[in-house]
């Protein structure tokens, strides 16, 4: 895609004009590359998020924190799905407690005999203090009470900290950063100040790290005229981030070049899919009779297209009626057959959004001990095609 920028901009501004998610990808990649000896990173996000994929590519040891809002919303089904994807049942909180999610007892509810699950809510210090070499703590939202609960561990580990900061708490958070020697920056690496809008921020523990990141992102460069595609632009301004011969660069380049991301079906936190299957070449997962709920982080503001393929339909069925709800809105109601490609458009209005795609089959057939309808594959999110 080509775009003309009339005024002088930084390279990151140029990336943002294509889609703001490019800024997320590039800054995350730059920070991961700049961290000396990447140790453990603590992510308050799902294994399927872009942040997580980049951290894995950087060789980090990842500890995933559970999404407590979703634990509350979907109860035991979500906790089980989350644990199956490798997320520990622990969340950061300002007050500590053990939350037991238990089945209700009234006849008419399903899964009355399910075992209760415990979610531990702990202050960051409680969790982080006993661990070694924490490099990065990424939280969905940074608030002063939560940061205050991190006072001991920031002195011990000096981790990079990131997360969304709301405008109303900017001033108090800046004071916290000053007190603990952190540089608070926006996603575009501008200093966080009282007039900053709510958005994703980075708290950088030292100047060396900051300098390295700025250099990798060519943050001090200016672009007066821009008329090449983003991949070419990346070669020009972010060669180390996208052209190095390591996994992190390859993953970063893949995102920037193709403006889409595939989901690894096996690591997908979901409610309602059977385990992954393969014939050696293809991978697919069957959808249960009540449908599947997929959780798709779309962190940056902008337009996205969520796509998936119907890999096959159950024996004895040629077509299956499928309904697709996105955040509770019916987006597609169609008859699908093997090979159908289903695309759903969505505009993310605020940073850090997590959309829920709920795919419901109209009918299923019993095959041995499973109720089957369609299997899906090639789940991906595209962000190319819209210029902000």
């Amino acid at each position: 895609m080509h775009n003309n920028v009339s005024s002088v901009s930084s390279p990151l501004d140029v990336a943002a004009t294509h889609h703001k998610i490019n800024v997320d990808i590039l800054t995350t990649s730059a920070f991961l590359r700049s961290l000396p000896n990447v140790g453990e990173v603590v992510l308050d996000t799902m294994p399927q998020s872009i942040i997580s994929v980049l951290a894995m590519a950087a060789g980090a040891r990842i500890a995933y924190l559970a999404n407590y809002s979703l634990c509350q919303k979907y109860g035991l089904e979500y906790v089980e799905a989350s644990k199956a994807a490798g997320v520990q049942p622990l969340c950061f909180s300002t007050t500590e407690r053990d939350v037991f999610i238990t089945p209700r007892v009234e006849a008419g509810f399903e899964r009355l005999a399910t075992k209760a699950e415990r979610i531990k809510l702990r202050t960051p210090d409680n969790y982080l203090n006993g661990r070694a070499n924490i490099s990065w703590v990424s939280l969905s939202e940074l608030t002063l009470p939560l940061l205050d609960g991190m006072n001991k561990s920031v002195q011990k580990h000096r981790p990079l900290i990131s997360g969304k900061v709301s405008n109303s708490s900017v001033e108090s958070i800046i004071s916290w950063c000053e007190k603990y020697g952190y540089f608070p920056l926006t996603n575009l690496l501008e200093p966080l100040n009282a007039s900053s809008a709510s958005g994703y921020c980075w708290f950088v523990p030292n100047n060396t790290l900051l300098k390295s990141v700025r250099a990798l992102l060519a943050a001090d460069n200016e672009v007066a005229e821009f008329s090449c595609s983003l991949p070419k632009f990346a070669q020009q301004f972010w060669p180390e981030l996208t052209e190095s011969s390591d996994k992190l660069a390859k993953q970063t380049k893949d995102y920037i070049t193709h403006a889409r991301r595939w989901y690894y079906l096996d690591k997908l936190v979901n409610i309602g899919m059977y385990p992954i299957e393969t014939d050696g070449t293809n991978y697919w997962r069957w959808v249960g009779s009540k449908g599947v709920r997929l959780f798709i982080p779309l962190r940056a503001i902008g337009f996205y297209t969520v796509k998936f393929n119907v890999f096959s339909v159950a024996d004895g069925m040629k077509r299956v009626g499928l309904k697709c709800f996105l955040n509770g809105v019916l987006k597609k109601d169609l008859d699908a057959s093997a090979g159908s490609e289903i695309a759903i458009n969505h505009f993310t209005e605020s940073e850090g959004e997590l959309v829920e795609l709920f795919i419901v089959p109209q009918t299923s057939v019993q095959v041995f001990d499973r109720a089957l309808n369609v299997s899906i594959s090639d789940l991906a999110v595209y962000w190319k095609g819209e210029v902000l």
């Binding site: 407690r97 037991f100 238990t102 089945p103 007892v105 006849a107 509810f109 399903e110 001990d369």
Partner: protein, 628 residues
Amino acid sequence: MIDVPPQVVVFCPLPPKPNGIADYFAEQIPYFSKTTKVTVVVENTHPTPKGISANVTVLHLEEYMWQQHKYASVPHIYHVGNNPDTQYMLPVLLSKPGLVVVHDLNLHYLIDLTNLSQGDKSGYTLALQNNYGESGVVIGQQLSKFGWKGKFMPHELMMNASIISAAERILVHSKYSADKIAALGHKHVKIVPHHFSPAARHYQPKLKMQYRGELGLAGNKPVITSMGFIAKAKQIKAVLAALSDLKKQGLDFTYVLAGQCKPHEYDVYQDIADSGLSDNVIVTGFLNEDEFFKYMLASDFIVNLRYPTGGESSGTLTRAMGMGLCCVVVNIGPFGELPDDCAVKLEWDENFNYNLSNELQKLISDRHYRVQIGKNAQKWVERTHSINVTAQAYLHEAAKLQDNTSFSTSALNNRLFDYLPEQQILDWQSKNTISNDACNLWWQANLLPTNVTAVASISNNAVHHNSVLTSLLGYAHEQIHTATLNDFNVELSENLYPAAVVEGCLSDLAVAPVKWLANLNRVMAIGAKLVLSLHVPHKLTTEYSLERKNIKQLLVAAGFSVDKSVAGPLDIDMNLDDAPNSEYWVFSATKRSWMVNKNPEVYNNGASELMWLYDKKERSNQIGESNA
């Protein structure tokens, strides 16, 4: 002028779902819409509704759940039947009280769909326990351990208590159902007759021969019809046997089984062959509405037997009677409420087969007899089953609803209980002076959640109890409702509590253990947490064996399940030879049922005696019944 609500939310399947309740409600919608905005919630897999007016909003359950806050104060109506098409509404029905229209009284199969049909035997046992207490556990375990399940158990064992208890108001079609529900303690039950289908007016009885021609039925011999699913309870076998005898006597007829077979339940073709009626019987399979009415009007009379009954009212019967057809029924349940001159009502006794044969012979032979009964039936239905009147009655009941529950979760089948981390308890213990005169085991073992809306604190040492509840567990004084061991059942009777912490002595249970525990049950909500500490005296006079394991059984008999038990003291001094003189047994339990067994096995006194405790009186506060 009758009050009607400006808006209602109705949970009900819609056409083209092949479901009688869907057709029933679709007929009512235009009458609702005259005064009231209607939003219908259907299941996510529901096919696109057909024939529904554009001014009706139809939401899938998924859409409803995301918008539920918008509908929180709108009256909700739930149409519940004993079939898979109404299963989707159960979590909402059980969490948001509304007007529940009970089309089938039994509902065992509906509950079965949520557990046993999914292979979940443990869940089925707990569902039975919820309905039948300790006895339900026994039945469930018989199934899971030995595979025992009587063929008719689903018919005989109703499973409607949770649905009835959750409803703010109930609407049924028969006095039979109303009486059964009232016996469960529900005070707001309204009888509204099953309306006569307006669609029936498109069909003319005088076109009987034309319909027979269209359907390929003989015009020169009587046509007898049984409508609806061909199930065992329809007593088709008995009808075939009676007709077989009549055929041998020289009578000729056509018997139409106008409905869908249920081959997994009943092999009707075998019985047709055995009765020698292969030339006389027609099995139609599933019929659309047009065919349904034509078969009905092509008939000379209808045989609509049901035994046993699940308490369901028959829409087919109302239609047939409203169209002037004589119907033969078994004189039980809702069918017993038909006026005697409007149907042929057969007693279910040892003479049933004989009487059935006699009546069939009379109806085949005596045209005047059957026509007169049919006319009586038609007049009665016209008088009492007008859809205008019944739709208004629905709205009138809906207008009385007061619930405005707004959901904070989509996991309506779960509850979240907060507990202190162990370290906080140890810290508190080290910073406070703990009296050893009272039981400390229950809070040391961390058995009480910290986030329930109110706690019933029952003990003779309220100071100690309340100190722990406020200082350690963080409850405000107004959340703690205190009562003594002697009169808690009176002092706390105005509320249903989501948790109770009780400190008593084994001697409190000595006279009538189950009765004492049942009194605890009475003041607690379903799903509530009970923490029961019992001091064990050195000497105890009782006629019962009150060992620790038996207390667990007594709790189950009183409607609880035991989650955990501890005994102590925890702080035994190993340097002293003295035995501890303050032993306590502590039980953490969950209330699962309103059904109590007054004579449990522990009593060693013969058969069980069940007692249903629920009494839906107007309690001032029904505290924290759900997490919705």
